[in-house]
Amino acid sequence: MTTDDPRPVSLRREGDGLRIDWADGISTFVTWRTLRKECPCATCTDERAKPPNPFRVLSAQEVAAGPPAPLKMAPVGQYAYQIAWNDGHSTGIYTLAALRKLSEPTS
């Protein structure tokens, strides 16, 4: 991440995902499901490195939550956003570079 990386001009919910308009004129879209799946926190990164466990029991909160959705998405300094999810998870800090990489350009 450097200060030359593109900065977002606006971010808003659009359907089941996040629309980001960037300062360099590009508009991108990413689903909440992708963002939740690619959570960059240490715990989730660690989990992704393990073989999938088909017998993992979902917590009551995960079951009640349904599809991933953000309850809150707040800026962190000048370099990232932190998302609090409806399944109770909130430690992932998504850098601007990560948001750009995870989202697909649509214009």
Binding site: M1, T2, T3, D5, R7, P8, V9, S10, L11, R12, R13, L18, P70, K72, M73, A74, P75, V76, G77, Q78, Y79, A80, Y81, Q82, I93, L96
Partner: protein
Amino acid sequence: MPPPQPGQQKTPLPGIKHVIAVASGKGGVGKSTVSANLALALHMYGQRVGLMDADIYGPSVPLMFGLGTVDQTKTPFPIEKYGLKLMSMGFLVDPNQAVIWRGPKVAQAVGALLFQPPWGELDYLVIDLPPGTGDAQLTLSQSAPLTGAVIVTQPAEVSLIDARKGVRMFQEVNVPILGIVENMSYLGLPDGSKLFPLGQGGGAKLAAEIGVPFLGEIPIDQEISKCGDAGEPIVRKHPDHPVSHAYIRLAQTVVNELMKRPTGGALPEVEL
């Protein structure tokens, strides 16, 4: 005191135009002296300036401004002295008492020192960071709306190695580097010549290497520590001293750098 949560405040430091972090990778390069004198030099330009001492383990501001610990129940913070608004852990803890805290507690204290005092309207808030790239530095870099960072180094290579690490930390969290200040650059001799006991050109070399401005050289002079230890930094006590002139030039250069670059401001809020 609750830690500042990312995004908790929409404008975390309302009323403050520019927040400048003064950092170094290595300890002992004179970062606190540079911070205090830079803040006073900015004030001499008629600016409203605050100085936050973020060194939890070794605060210097109380000594350098002739203040000690104060009664927290009776003293309004930030404390005003020489026209600056000051905040430091040293106001709250006895200087002979060691602060022995783990990282999360440090991060919490640093957040409280920055976000809790009513700073009011300021043109500049100078933050004197502790040396290194640990919890305090990371907390401030991530949660404070920093306009930019000034990196202090000595000319010697041993100091430059750690200064590079400080630069990388700020780059990692997207905080612009305003430039490099070389402290203890030279000793001015009575005949007008200069002696370079710690080497020459290290700061300019580092600035060129990472592509940021070289903000200036500050000479060594025993008057600097004498004034600091006596509770009145040199820029305030001897404004016509050559060292004070160097600080005044530094302040002007920092102001020019800030004017040149768009800060980008805070990241936009998300419409959910």
